[in-house]
Amino acid sequence: MDVEILARIQFAFTVAFHYIYPPLSIGIGLIMVIFEGLYLKTGKKEYEILTRFWLKIFAITFGIGVATGIIMEFEFGTNWSVYSKYVGDIFGSALAAEGLFAFGLESTFLGILIFGWNRVSPKVHFISTIGVFLGSMFSAVWIVVANSWQQTPAGYHIVGEGLNARAEVTDFWAMVFNPSSVDRIIHVWQGAFLAGAFMILSVHAYYLLKGRYVEVSKKAFKIALSVATIISLTQLVSGHSSADGVAVNQPAKLAAMEGHYETSAAADLYLFGWVDQASKTVTGIGIPGGLSFLVHQDFNEPIAGLNAFPEDEIPTQVNAVFQFYHIMISIGMFFIGLTLYASYLWWRGKLFDKKWLLKIFAFSVLLPQIANQAGWFAAEMGRQPWVVYGHLKTSQAFSQEVSANQILFSLILFFVVYAILFLLFLYSLNKKIKHGPYDESENPNEFLKYT
């Protein structure tokens, strides 16, 4: 295999693996802030138990997120040196801000959060929890700003030619608030909140099904369900706004998302389907003219299809972009239905009566993970063949001095190390969940005396 494809496989693998963890940290972080805030406000023991329990899971998730994140930072230089030189001037300020404002905040307060229970007052501990949570939110901001700039560059000019060409900042705030930043930051945050909320829903649904830790689990479930319901609904808004942005700024990507080929025709909106790239057709079920309606509020308004763009400026994997995009949308729609239905039952006072529903929640932890991954795959594959949209192609961006064998070597190492890491993560997660928020066996009535 050639260097480019190996470098791409390695980057995709390491970043996809990394992306399991930060969304979980951000989402669990949000709900931990709610738990601990309620504990400080009401003084109720159950909120303290929940905070401490989820903090343990948070610590593991956060730890793996940091460890795998450092690799991403250096992989730009090792495998994508041309790209690094090209974007360094732009990413520089975003990265500096990320490191100092976000990463510094979260990593220093993390120590106090995990080990400081007996060393600082509850209020200071709560402030540390907020600090870590905000730090992780800011981290996402700067990383997504950098990525959004690659999708929709702004506030820059190109200097130099050939190997020495690079983008330089002309307007910092235009670079930060490039056309896709805000939509995508919100969309990414919401994806992260859902990852955390569904993790908490899943674990407590499991406890409720087993009849363990029932009182705390009901409290935690309701809090996480509130978050999940609000976010599922608002995710639709940021998703729509994001797609509108793609229609304007990256028309070829939009066309690939719905497999729309005709140069200028009304575009359909598929529920699901299959793109045959050879015959340039989509087989599936959808709303004729639906995409035109979403973008222009008119079923007959034409949209530029893939044929309208030069062959070498459209994604090569149209069907993959289509599938990833639709997987994300389907899961998002499912969440709206699931959380609204559960909220309705809660309103009728029957939330915990239906076992099948709890079972769905117990398994649903996987869905936000799949949706987050699919969304990013759609976004990144849809941007191809560009690494910086309209300026630098992926095929020109990798490190020319690195050989295929070197990447093969590191790729195999990554596979082995990450496989071990993933097993350890599952193992310790399982152990912590089985062990539970407090010890029932030693003292079954311990919890009762607090309620």
């Binding site: 730890g63 230089g77 030189k85 001037d89 500096a96 404002f101 993390l110 001095e401």
Partner: protein, 345 residues
């Protein structure tokens, strides 16, 4: 070119990166150094205490690597790209070892089984030792220069070229100073028999350091091209090696007086002075080319635009005091000897 306090922006950023690398060496120096003593501590409880001595701090200390790497990428993208892609294998090993080390800290004490802890102990010891060593090896390679052609294109060896005698020497020196730093740090954090054991180990560590330091210094002065020229141009900077030498001499003195905190300060100063010496020797070059000095990466041909550097310097001016405050608060909270409780590793 724009200036601030009479210094041009690339030079200012060079100082920022140097400061960050020094902070990284000093703070993670005692983290990695403590880990490099791990298998020399025999009892399980001693090993647990040693890990928990850095427990609440290491994640924060690691921030210096992340910001330092980011600062290099941001300020000198050409340097970042050229060094990392040319040193592909050592950096990949370094990153992989960092991951394994994090895993070892988190999972080592999670189970009681003997084989489990033993396996993680070996991984922890090996990763810390090799990380410290590899950092030195990369530094040794940078000091000697790379086979850089026009447009910073690297044409040197790609698999094992980084393992050359001089780099190995710098590697051992780095490891030995980290081990000295780590042992002193652990002495501050421990009591009783473990403390006695560590003060015995520290003496061995200092011998290891002084020997490798002497050999590397001798080799550098004798064989490395043009080392003395810089001092002839600017004799005032000859103060740096003298200060470094005095700091090296002062550490054993403070250790024998059991003034461990000051010993830690002075062993940190050794690293700071040595890195300043490196910075002074290289300036304004970042990465010398062995083919032609004109092909070297310098702070001027590698730098980001004036505008970008200006923005980043502003960010640093706002962010650095915040970071300093977080660190003071963190270190104050966990001041004193290690106490194991139910939140410990």
């Amino acid at each position: 070119m724009e200036t601030f306090l009479g210094i041009d922006y690339p030079t200012l950023w060079y100082l920022v990166v140097g400061l960050l690398f020094s902070g990284y060496a000093i703070l993670e120096g005692f983290d990695y150094g403590a880990g490099a003593w791990h298998l020399f501590l025999k009892k399980d409880i001693s090993r647990r205490i040693a890990i928990n001595a850095i427990g609440p701090l290491w994640d924060a200390n690691q921030v210096w690597l992340i910001i330092g790497g980011g600062a290099l990428f941001a300020g000198f993208p050409v340097m970042y790209a050229t060094m990392l892609s040319a040193m592909y294998i050592p950096f990949m090993l370094f990153l992989m070892l960092l991951v394994l080390r994090s895993a070892a800290i988190k999972f080592r004490s999670a189970e009681e089984m003997k084989w489990w802890r033993k396996t993680w102990d070996i991984i922890y010891f090996t990763s810390n030792t090799l990380i410290a060593f590899l950092l030195g090896v990369v530094l040794g390679n940078v000091l000697q220069g790379f086979e850089l052609h026009e447009n910073f294109i690297y044409k040197g060896g790609i698999f094992f070229a980084f393992l050359n005698p001089y780099s190995l020497m710098v590697g051992f020196t780095t490891l030995s100073i980290f081990m000295t730093q780590g042992a002193i740090f652990l002495l501050l954090k421990t009591e009783g028999k473990l403390h006695d054991r560590l003060s015995f180990l520290l003496k061995r560590g200092m011998v290891f350091f002084i020997v490798s330091f002497a050999v590397t210094s001798f080799y550098t002065l004798t064989y490395l091209h043009g080392v003395t020229d810089k001092f002839k141009e600017q004799p005032i900077f000859f103060a740096l090696p003298i200060l470094a030498f005095l700091a090296v001499a002062n550490v054993p003195r403070l250790v024998s007086k059991k003034k461990y905190f000051y010993a830690l300060v002075f062993s940190s100063l050794i690293m700071a002075f040595l890195l300043m010496l490196v910075a002074f020797q290289l300036y304004p070059v970042l990465l010398p080319s062995t083919i032609n000095p004109e092909y070297s990466v310098t702070i001027y041909n590698a730098a980001s635009s004036q505008k970008s550097l200006g923005i980043m310097l502003t960010i640093v001016l706002i962010g650095a005091p915040l970071l300093a405050f977080y660190f003071l608060f963190l270190y104050k909270t966990f001041n004193g000897k290690v106490e194991l409780d139910d939140t410990s590793y």
